[in-house]
């Protein structure tokens, strides 16, 4: 994530408790580290047309407990490789939340209940604000702990550690 960057795109809305098996099925993830290949199967079991509808920069918008289930880091990676620029959810499962930040995928915890599929959104993570351009509404984002914001700004944990050599709280 570049500093001061505002993300723009349209919403793809999902429900509560979207688990990592739905994001990328176990039957694919053990086969390869090629995330572009795996990304073709993102959300396949619950929304087979999902990847064909996504325009680069779009958002996944979900209810509570997004990313529950396994620790597979392939989950945030395939979302990123599918062209999604950020995930907005009412709440996140903790391992997914951490994995997303560690891989430079912005995640925003906010009240997503009013967002409709197709709404045009503008997400400013540093300001902690989501603007729903279609509905003319604004949503506040729960702020990230500074260490997570720093990791996200570096584009992920690998780049962060390369720069800092360790964790700075």
């Amino acid at each position: 994530m570049e500093e001061g960057m505002v993300l723009k795109g349209k919403a793809h809305v999902f429900g509560h408790d979207i688990n990592t098996d739905y994001i990328i099925s176990g039957k694919y993830k053990f086969k390869t580290l090629d995330m572009d290949e795996l990304a073709r199967h993102c959300m396949e079991d619950i929304d087979p047309e999902f990847t064909s509808r996504v325009q680069p920069g779009d958002f996944i918008v979900a209810g509570a407990n997004f990313g529950c289930g396994s620790s597979r880091e392939q989950a945030p990676l395939v979302i990123k490789h599918a062209g999604i620029s950020a995930v907005l959810a009412k709440s996140f499962a903790r391992i997914f939340f951490r994995n997303a930040i560690n891989n430079g995928l912005p995640v925003a915890e906010c009240d997503t209940s009013g967002i409709q599929s197709g709404d045009q959104l503008e997400v400013d993570l540093e300001a902690g604000m989501v603007v729903n351009l279609t509905q003319g509404t604004e949503l506040a984002v729960t702020p990230l702990p500074p260490v997570m914001m720093d990791i996200l700004k570096e584009g992920g944990l690998a780049a962060y550690l390369k720069k800092h050599g360790g964790f700075k709280l």
């Binding site: 098996d21 039957k27 391992i95 951490r98 994995n99 992920g156 944990l157 390369k162 360790g166």
Partner: protein
């Protein structure tokens, strides 16, 4: 102000008193990756610029999820793990050793009071022996392999007091499913769960692992129990290093304390496609099944196979059902052979597969057909979990699975005991 188990373990590691909500960077006592997560961890380790793993004696890699390999892509990732482990001097548990969460405590890698991370969500399992153990992703594992440390937010704790005495035919899996049903899939998100009460005290250590294993199905970061005399006896001969069990202070501050009296609990079943969609077995009896699975990190231990063997002794698996048994480790399999347990299961018609995750993750060992119903002792029944999005998975105890395999339909095991 007193501390919870979680706060006290973090305080011991941080070298100062810490409480829920604080961020800490602490030494990780042991760390683990499996074959679905280690290859990405190795890749991340290289990306960070890592050359040497700080302390290979604190790392294990386990090939369990897709073992032996069913596909060339998987084989190549396994080869990558073998070569990294050899280069770094890391202990590798290769094909046939068993499931990571059975192996780590069994092989003496986990001690009470430890902080353990695993690149697998069911790492919460070792909370049953008083370790703060939690699932992380591959990059966090890479960071810990390189630096020996990781950052954590000390979680608040939800204390669950489990009162009463479990009835015959009701097991720790029924308790774990009942709690998932009551607390729901995000009822403990970001929290450490602390389990206590007579029910926990009455259970064997093996049975306790099942409860901590399912803590993550409520979103928990850890599923902690105190170490008692049973824990210490269980660790004898397994663990060689010194350790310090951690108990909560009497004035510990909990986010919430909930009490459940489980004396009237009956066998529980989670319906497709949610772990928290739980019903008493009575309400689902008669649902036809085509496959039954006994095994996994939840219920693949010796006691689990013994319970199943008791039900299957002198009975036959229904001709309409495939019963697949995946012992959780080689040691479990050998003990099951020595005790005649494996023999009884096989005589009844069970098909044994390699110790490991078995068909749980949908990569091999029994992918169900379209429209089929599977009853399994595993921990997840999400749509597509076992490799076919058109199949339906029910979760239950080894007793309920064994009884259902005999009857060809979901069956209350209490009638077959």
């Amino acid at each position: 102000m007193g501390g919870t188990i979680s706060e006290k373990i973090f305080s011991n590691h941080a070298g100062r008193e810490v409480r829920a909500g604080e961020l800490v960077v602490v030494e990780v006592d042991f760390m683990m990756g499996q074959d679905g997560t280690s290859p990405l961890a190795i890749k991340a380790f290289r990306e960070i610029g890592g050359e040497k793993v700080l302390d290979p004696s604190r790392v294990a890699m386990v090939i369990d999820h897709s073992a032996p390999s069913p596909l060339e892509g998987v084989s190549n990732l396994h080869a990558m793990m073998r070569s990294f482990a050899a280069e770094q001097g890391i202990g590798l548990y290769d094909v046939g050793w068993g499931v990571c969460h059975c192996l780590l405590p069994e092989q003496g890698h986990v001690a009470p009071g430890d902080i353990v991370i695993g690149a697998d969500s069911h790492t919460t399992t070792y909370g049953a022996i008083n370790a703060f153990s939690t699932g992380v992703g591959s990059t966090d594992l890479a960071a810990a392999m390189l630096t020996g440390k990781l950052w954590f937010k000390v979680p608040s704790t939800l204390r669950l007091e489990l009162r009463g005495k479990l009835a015959t035919g009701v097991y720790s899996k029924d308790v774990a499913l009942f709690l998932a049903g009551r607390l729901t899939a995000d009822g403990a998100t970001y929290l450490a769960v602390e389990y206590g009460g007579e029910v926990i005290e009455s259970l064997s250590v093996e049975a306790r692992f099942t409860i901590s294993n399912l803590a993550v199905e409520m979103g928990a970061k850890a599923g902690l129990m105190e170490a008692d005399s049973k824990t210490l006896r269980w660790l004898e001969g397994r663990l060689s290093r010194p350790f310090e069990p951690v108990s909560p202070d009497p004035d510990a501050v909990y986010q919430e304390v909930r009490e459940f009296d489980l004396s009237d609990l009956t066998p529980q079943v989670a319906e497709p496609h949610r772990v928290d969609q739980v019903k008493p077995v009575e309400e689902l009896e008669g649902t036809p099944i085509q496959q039954a699975v006994i095994g996994t990190c939840t219920n693949g231990r010796l006691e689990d196979l013994e319970v199943a063997a008791r039900i299957l002794a002198g009975r036959r698996v229904s001709p309409e059902v495939r019963l697949i048994v995946a012992p959780a480790s080689r040691q479990v399999l050998m003990e099951a052979m020595a005790k005649g347990v494996a023999q009884r299961l096989i005589e009844a018609g069970a098909a044994f597969v390699t110790p490991g995750c078995g068909p749980c993750v949908g990569t091999h060992n029994g992918v169900p057909a379209d429209g089929e119903r599977v009853i399994s002792t595993a921990n997840r029944n999400f749509k597509g979990r076992m490799g076919n999005a058109n199949a339906f998975i029910y979760l239950a105890s080894p007793a309920t699975v064994a009884a259902s395999a005999v009857a060809g339909k979901i069956t209350d095991p209490r009638r077959m005991l």
